[in-house]
Structure formats: structure tokens, C-alpha cells
Symmetry: C2
Subunit: 284 residues, 2 copies
């Protein structure tokens, strides 16, 4: 039996981490943008064999969030699974690929008849996979919802609280300059204190006037004020602004994203693009 599910890429603009011993309630508040680009999980279940083979874009890959999902969901332990993930965006550059891979896998595995979990219940497992592995704190909540998502109360889908900002499916472009390890940033306790204060301030401002351009400008200020921007990221953001556009940094990747076709980004490397995806993760 083969089932395919999709979860969108999610670019966080600003965030503030929320600590809780229970990973279901832990995570982050903040705001991020889902894309039509994302991760597709094609899961084949066989009654013979055991364990899971995970491939990302055709290559075997150790993805801790996907392993966590496979080990946590009922009904997957006594059958062999082949999980073929296709990602439109790179891993480690701030697109929430770890969370999207976990969420798409969880949704695909769950359509196996008789498991009897709701979509929120399986999304909880994907959220915990992301949080426990310190690969993402709020991506799954955004990806489950779709669109431009404000995360007001941290936690897994159905537990945390989100609000969707009305938004056209306009084009978003990006250039990836380097990888950032989310867990290394989270482990820097002193810097995180400052990040959390700035993230809460941006959230408050966003809730007063929700809109995509306001999201971009709050994200930009957050990126600079937290000191998370690298010199390369700062250059690329300023190049977009010099051409009259809006850009910021994908949290957490050494990646710049911009509204529109991103022509001003081309001097910095290969430009990727996608429309904003207003639909949350779903079974195909």
C-alpha cells in the first residue's frame, strides 16, 4: 500500500522560543510563511519486513525527525516501510524541511486503515519530532495550517493557537548562502534571551496590523536586531531594498527571502522561487 502526503516549506520571519518539559506544549511563537514548495512523502507499507528505509530526493538519508515519527506512530512497528521524500527546498537552510518531512510522513502513514488518528493527533507527533531533535520549534504548527501563519500560543497543532493572515498567493524568491544548525542557535542561552524579547515584540506588533508587508518589515528588523544576519545576508537584504523590494532572513538558515521575483538576489547565487502556499499539509 502506497500513500503520498505533502507538507509545505515554512519560512519563519521572527520567533520567540517557549520552553516546556512536555514537547507537545513546547515550541515557539512568532510568524512564518508557507510556500507551494515543500516536501512530498511517498510511503509504501509492506506486511513483510520491518524497519524503515528513508530516502531524500532518491538518496538514503538519516532524518531523525522522520525516524521519530515512524517509531512513535502506532501500527508502523510491525511492518516494513519505504519512505521516499522529495523536497523542493534544501535541508538546513531555514525552510523547515525537518518538520515538513516529519509531518508529510506522519500524514501518509496514518491513512493506513484502522489506525484511527485524526490529522491533529498525527501532527502532534511530527511537532514533537521537530522539538525533541531541536531541528525546529514552530514549523510544524505553521505547515499544518498553511499560508502566512501567526503562532500566538506555542505547541503542536490542536494545542498551540495560530491565526492565518489573509494573503494572495504571490511569488516569494530566495537565495541560500549557507547552512545554520538550529540547535546551535537554540543552545546559545544568552543570545536566545535577547532573541526571545525581540521576537515577542515583533509578534505584538504583527497582531496589531496583520499583513504580508508588515511581516516582511518586522522580520527584517528582527533579523538585524538579533544579530542573526551574516554579512552576506545583510548585503543581499540591502540589495533587494535598494531595488525597491522587501527581503529578510529565513529563520534559521543563512538564507535571504524576498517578495516577488527576486531579480535583485541573482548576484548572490542561484535564486529559488515559489508562490505562497495557502493550503496546509494534506494527503494527496
Amino acid at each position: 500500500m502506497t500513500v503520498t502526503a505533502f507538507a509545505p516549506a515554512h519560512i519563519t520571519g521572527f520567533f520567540s522560543t517557549i520552553f516546556d518539559h512536555d514537547p507537545v506544549k513546547a515550541g515557539s511563537v512568532g510568524c512564518g510563511l508557507c510556500l507551494e514548495a515543500g516536501v512530498m512523502a511517498r510511503v509504501t507499507t509492506s506486511t513483510t519486513g520491518s524497519g524503515a528505509l528513508i530516502r531524500l530526493n532518491g538518496e538514503p538519508k538519516d532524518l531523525p525527525t522522520v525516524t521519530y515519527v515512524v517509531e512513535s506512530l502506532p501500527g508502523t512497528r510491525h511492518s516494513g516501510l519505504v519512505i521516499d521524500l522529495t523536497a523542493d527546498v534544501p535541508l538546513g537552510y531555514g525552510f523547515g524541511v525537518s518538520g515538513a518531512a516529519a509531518l508529510a510522513t506522519a500524514l501518509a502513514v496514518n491513512t493506513d486503515p484502522g489506525q484511527g488518528l485524526t490529522m491533529e493527533q498525527v501532527a502532534v507527533v511530527a511537532h514533537c519530532a521537530d522539538v525533541v531533535n531541536r531541528t525546529g520549534m514552530g514549523d510544524v504548527a505553521g505547515q499544518f495550517t498553511g499560508g502566512l501563519v501567526i503562532r500566538i500560543v506555542a505547541g503542536a497543532p490542536g494545542v498551540g493557537v495560530v491565526e492565518k493572515v489573509p494573503v494572495d498567493n504571490m511569488e516569494v524568491s530566495w537565495v541560500c548562502l549557507g547552512e545554520i544548525s538550529t540547535s546551535l542557535v537554540l543552545d546559545d542561552k544568552k543570545n536566545m534571551e535577547r532573541i526571545n524579547i525581540l521576537g515577542q515584540r515583533a509578534l505584538k506588533a504583527m497582531l496589531k496590523r496583520p499583513g504580508v508587508e508588515h511581516f516582511m518589515s518586522l522580520s527584517r528588523d528582527f533579523a538585524f536586531e538579533t544579530g542573526l544576519v551574516s554579512p552576506g545576508v545583510a548585503d543581499a537584504i540591502e540589495a533587494v531594498e535598494a531595488s525597491g523590494g522587501m527581503a529578510s532572513m529565513a529563520m534559521l538558515g543563512d538564507t535571504v527571502f524576498a517578495l516577488g521575483d527576486g531579480s535583485a538576489l541573482m548576484e548572490f547565487g542561484p535564486v529559488g522561487s515559489s508562490r505562497i502556499g495557502t493550503t496546509g499539509a494534506h494527503i494527496l
Copy 2:
């Protein structure tokens, strides 16, 4: 400026009403199915003129839920509005058209720049429109989410709690036998007591084993045990079952819906059909 938004039709299978003086928290718990069929609202705003002209499928129509939305949302009072609604399903037959019209209108009106409300905030207004006019108690919560939706905590989107049941976009068919006034049923206090007990019982069972076929059988038992089925509805449900299918009654309309192509319904009248719509209300 013209903006178009869509909200899916929503067929409630079983429900239990929840009373609250605050319409935001009032509504119903239960379970219902969203369709790809629904209501499209095309809203044209002009800076001259005032008031709102509401048309349903080309004809001027007094729709209290839409009027409520227009009068409640900020920024609509000082401009002229033309609201053209196109419904794929009939009003008054248990498809949640009152709620869908209110929700699609609210989303379309809200894209007017500068209003600055999230999608949940405008959906709250549509939910209140439905509840206050006693045209529906939980349709908007289902329609905002899309798919097969269990409403666990009553109330408007962002306030009530829902869970989505994983479901293919299979075909659903229906035959409409007559109209039912939702408010007349709600006003029958004694019968509502019994309905509410049976609705809570079905909800509990659904949560233990969420799935589309379980939804159909719980809905069917609810329809008969509450006594809401008319003789015509009972005949049509039994005809579908005799052909090996599953059917129940759309709450609250004198309408039978069935999984599949509904060939067994054809002897009872013109058969409509749609796939299950897994996407919630959205701007087009």
C-alpha cells in the same frame, strides 16, 4: 475593487448544541463533511454609494447572515458593496449555505487593504452571524477548516476546537426532498434535549475511531434515533443501504446524502454530487 472568496458546503451528520450568551462561544459540537461544492462570494467595493446589494445566483436576496457580516466588519459601513454569491447547493436543505455565504463574504471583504484582521477574526463574525440568526450552529467552524471535521469544543474558528479526520476526496451524492428551518428545530426545547444527548454520544464514539465510514453509520443512527428523519428520508437511506451503500440525513435539511455516485438515490429526485473538499474557506 473586486475580491472573490470561497467557503465549502458543510453537511452535518450529528450534533449537540451548546448554549452560551456569547455567540462566539455558542454553537455546536459534532461532526460534518465539507464538499468541493460551496458558495463563492464576489465582493465589489466602491468608495461612492453606501449599503450592500446582495445577490444569490443572480437574483437579489435578503440573506440575514450576509447582512450581519456587512454591518459588523469594520471598513464596510462607509462604502457601497455589491455581493454576488454563487451557490452550488441549495439554501435551506442542510448544506450550511447561510454560514458559507457569510464566511465567503467576510473573507472577501477583509482583503480590502488596511482592515488588518486575521482570517480567524473575520471567521468569528461569520460564525456569530449564523448563530445569532439561528441558521446554523457549527457550519462556519467546519467550513473554515475543510474536510471531515469533528467539532470538539463549540464556538467560532480560533475559539472552538476541531479535529480533521484523514479522508480521500471521494464522491458524495445527495437528493433534496424538502426544506427544514434550522431555527424551528432548535426552538423545540424538549426534542433538543434528546438530540443533544444522542449527539454527545455519537461524538464520543467518533473520537474513539475517527473515519468516514464510522461517521456515516453514526450519522445514520443519530438521524433515526432523534426522530429527525421524515418518511421520505428514511426510504431513501434504506434504498442506498439495500444497494450496499451508506447514507444519512443532512442536518438540518430534508436531504439524504450518500457516499459514492448515489445511483440508488435517483428514484427519489434529481441527484447532486461533489467530491469531499479537504480545503477550508479561502480567498481566490
